[in-house]
């Protein structure tokens, strides 16, 4: 069972979703949360090549961007703390400076579950560059992770995307151990064109869930227009409030060139994603 939850916040729209989801889950589970705000010092004031005469401009820019970031993170933490107090959730706040990936990695060791927001995609030249924290955390988090979506249904069901792989099995076990939405409906879904094989995979997950007192439904769908599409449709059909799915690591170059299923799902599926890497 989850005893404490770590929620990362940076004031972005998606991290506000993370705070909302994290407080909602903490209230249901009756656990405490830690609200963590990190000023990305390395990201804002990293070394870079400079022409002669420009170092004062860099120093000035770095100082201003850091001051702005400190102000934004402090405001985000204040807002999250106010929401936690209003939701009657026991909380602590932490403000740290450093690499978000490293600081999250250290702090999450004190907790059972990490909740963060999606990677914001810039829509104008004034929006900040997309953060690399989510990708790094997906690959390296030592605890289960929920990436908040943009929707939190009132009485959500749980959708498990299962392909029989080791990451999928570990994620399912992590989800069951967490106790999240333990009394809600649950569906195990397999995506693939080889129905007997997929059914075999999904049946093992169903057996596992039944051994933990759950009564899952089974759903097998063909690949069709892609796995992300199939999951979006299923999440909508099942009124899912949580998608449980194993994140498959792959070489960074391959992921950079072709993207990953996890990244495609993160950008398209509106519900929170539970991953245990």
């Amino acid at each position: 069972m989850v005893k404490s939850v770590l929620i990362g916040t940076n004031g972005s729209q998606w991290s506000q979703s993370a705070v909302k989801l994290g407080l909602s889950l903490a209230r249901q589970l009756g656990v405490r949360v830690t609200l963590l705000g990190i000023v990305d010092v390395q990201g804002l004031a990293h070394g870079e090549p400079l022409p002669i005469g420009a170092s004062a401009f860099k120093a000035e820019r770095d100082a201003r961007l850091l001051a702005d970031a400190r102000q934004r993170i402090e405001a985000a933490l204040e807002s999250a703390a106010a929401q936690a107090a209003e939701a009657a959730v026991e909380f602590t706040t932490r403000f740290v400076e450093g690499s978000p990936e490293e600081e999250l990695g250290k702090e999450v060791q004190r907790h059972d579950l990490l909740i963060i927001g999606k990677r914001a995609v810039p829509r104008s030249d004034h929006d900040p560059a997309p953060s690399k924290t989510l990708t790094a955390t997906l690959h390296h988090s030592s605890r289960p992770l929920i990436v908040a979506g943009d929707e939190i249904p009132d009485s959500p069901s749980v959708l498990v995307a299962y392909d029989g792989s080791r990451p999928a099995a570990r994620t399912l076990a992590g989800y069951v151990a967490s106790g999240i939405y333990a009394n809600n409906g649950i569906t195990v879904m397999g995506v693939g064109n080889d129905v007997p094989e997929i059914t075999g995979h999904v049946q093992r997950a169903v057996d596992f869930l039944e051994s933990h007192g759950r009564s899952p439904k089974m759903r097998i769908v063909p690949v069709g227009r892609g796995i992300a599409d199939a999951l979006v449709t299923a999440a909508r059909d099942e009124s899912a409030g949580l998608l449980v799915m194993g994140a498959h690591g792959q070489p960074r170059l391959k992921e950079a060139l072709f993207g990953s299923v996890t990244r495609a799902i993160l950008s398209r599926v509106p519900v929170p994603l539970f991953v245990d890497h």
């Binding site: 022409p51 420009a54 000035e60 100082a63 030249d125």
Partner: protein, 487 residues
């Protein structure tokens, strides 16, 4: 930020620096075949007798400038003056030991009195005077207004320096476009045109051209011989920019556009008069012939002394006459000129052996560079001059790069021929000035503009992201320009 406000140089050597420099000097001795040095003041070094190790400090200081801010940023910001002093000492000490104090002193005085001090005084004057002018008011960032600002900046850059023009116009340009979603392309074209290409028409425009002027290139030589190259590139870039910005503008939500333009006004207008004084002083030194005096075998002309005194006077007047509030609004700070002074103090010392070797031509240890820019028939390969000077200027400082290739082409010894033949010197000048736009580190205002844009929350491309823009847009234009004008 609390920067040192003095203009003094930190040239004290710690024992560790002296030991390291002595080690390098020992190595230089070991690798210098048949060292022959003139022992009398005024004769300088025989470059043909110097080994390649003498160039190591020059390469070292340029690489330190390029890499240390990336690899050890905090160390660099705190200690770049000491690094510059270290590399300077790595040349001075071997010179002192091998040549004797007299010739070492002659070399230092020669390069400092005739090049370094006038160079820094001009940069100081332009920096102070142009940093006192401020453009107030609010424009609306339409494609027509943006093109007008870019064209104005391109014109001004040659007469108030690329740094001065860029600092004058970048904030008004950003303010005018703050309501727009897409404005990165505007800042990038601003860097291309105002921070680099526009500065090609006078010695005031870009530091390498002033070094050329100090070497004897007439004031208006670049105006006459780089005008068509500059216009060709500028018109093409402005046309590309206009089409690009029109398309981007059509996608903007124009309901966010400010309703009307606020009247523009100049603050610190006295500095425009002082700027005319700066131009007049430099012009004067180019035309007047008032005689000369000798100091330690170095011939110093009275017109140059008058120019430098006048420039210091204009600097002082600008500082006194510009309201402090105006300087603060311009975010004026002495640190950039202190940084320039400290780093060039080292560059000008370390470049001495390199120039001496290059003057020896194919007989010198850097003969391979001469071969690189010489055709099989022995004539200068002007396209090679343009592309090699340009490629180095894109990543290293363009002032020493210009000096290296100016001397590779024969330098002052063949200046009349270079001025008459035109194309070789034009190729070197075009390479040094234009191709500074290829990266953020090719010219100081490139990075200054980037920093100001980022402080205004514009997401500028990374170092390599910017180079995708410059390779995609500038390189084809430079290629066509070089084939038309520099063959």
């Amino acid at each position: 930020m609390d920067h040192e406000a003095s203009l003094g140089f930190d040239m004290r050597f710690s024992p560790r620096i002296v030991r390291a420099a002595a080690a390098i000097s020992g190595a230089a001795l070991a690798f210098t075949p048949g060292v022959m040095f003139a022992q009398e003041p005024g004769h300088g070094i025989d470059g043909a007798s110097l080994g390649l190790l003498w160039v190591v400090p020059f390469a070292g200081i340029l690489l330190s400038i390029a890499l240390c801010p990336l690899l050890v940023p905090h160390f660099w910001h705190a200690h770049f003056g000491k690094v510059s002093a270290f590399w300077g000492a790595a040349v001075l000490l071997p010179m002192f030991v091998l040549l004797g104090p007299a010739t070492a002193l002659y070399e230092v005085l020669h390069v400092y009195l005739l090049e370094y001090i006038p160079f820094i005084i001009l940069l100081l004057a332009l920096f102070t005077v142009s940093g006192g002018v401020r453009l107030k008011g609010q424009l609306t960032g339409s494609p027509e207004v943006n093109v007008a600002i870019l064209a104005l900046g391109t014109f001004l850059a040659s007469w108030m320096g690329t740094t001065g023009a860029a600092m004058l116009l970048i904030r008004p340009l950003i303010r005018a476009n703050a309501w727009r979603n897409r404005m990165v392309h505007t800042v990038i074209f601003f860097i291309f045109l105002v921070a680099n290409i526009g500065g090609s028409l006078s010695p005031l425009g870009d530091p390498p051209l002033f070094l050329g002027f100090l070497q004897g290139v007439p004031f208006f030589w670049t105006t006459r011989h780089m005008l068509f190259e500059m216009l060709f590139i500028s018109v093409i870039l402005l046309a590309i920019y206009y089409v690009w910005d029109r398309i981007a503008y059509a996608r903007e939500d124009t309901s966010q556009r400010p309703r009307s333009d606020e009247k523009l006004a100049i603050e610190g207008g006295i500095n425009l008069l002082l700027l005319l004084g700066v131009i007049a002083a430099v012009l004067f030194s180019g035309f007047a012939r008032l005689g000369e005096f000798e100091m330690y075998g170095i011939h110093i002309t009275f017109e140059n002394v008058i120019r430098d005194v006048a420039l210091i006077g204009f600097t002082f007047a600008s500082w006194k006459l510009t309201p402090l509030a105006s300087r603060k609004a311009n975010e004026f700070d002495w640190f950039p000129i202190v940084e320039v002074a400290k780093l060039f103090a080292g560059i000008f010392i370390t470049i001495v052996p390199a120039i001496a070797i290059l003057k020896a031509g194919t007989a010198g240890a850097l003969g391979f560079i001469v071969d690189l820019v010489t055709s099989t028939d022995g004539s200068p390969n002007t396209l090679a001059y343009f592309w090699i000077t340009g490629t180095l200027s894109a990543f290293l400082d363009n002032a020493p790069t210009y000096l290296v290739f100016f001397n590779t082409a024969g330098g002052q010894a063949v200046l009349p021929q270079l001025l008459t033949e035109v194309t070789t010197l034009a190729a070197i000048s075009c390479g040094a000035v234009f191709m500074g736009a290829m990266s953020y580190i090719g010219n100081a205002p490139n990075f200054m503009v980037k920093s100001i844009a980022e402080t205004s929350r514009i997401r500028m491309p990374s170092f390599f992201g910017y180079m995708l823009w410059s390779i995609g847009i500038l390189l084809p234009v430079f290629l066509v320009m070089s084939l038309i004008f520099l063959r």
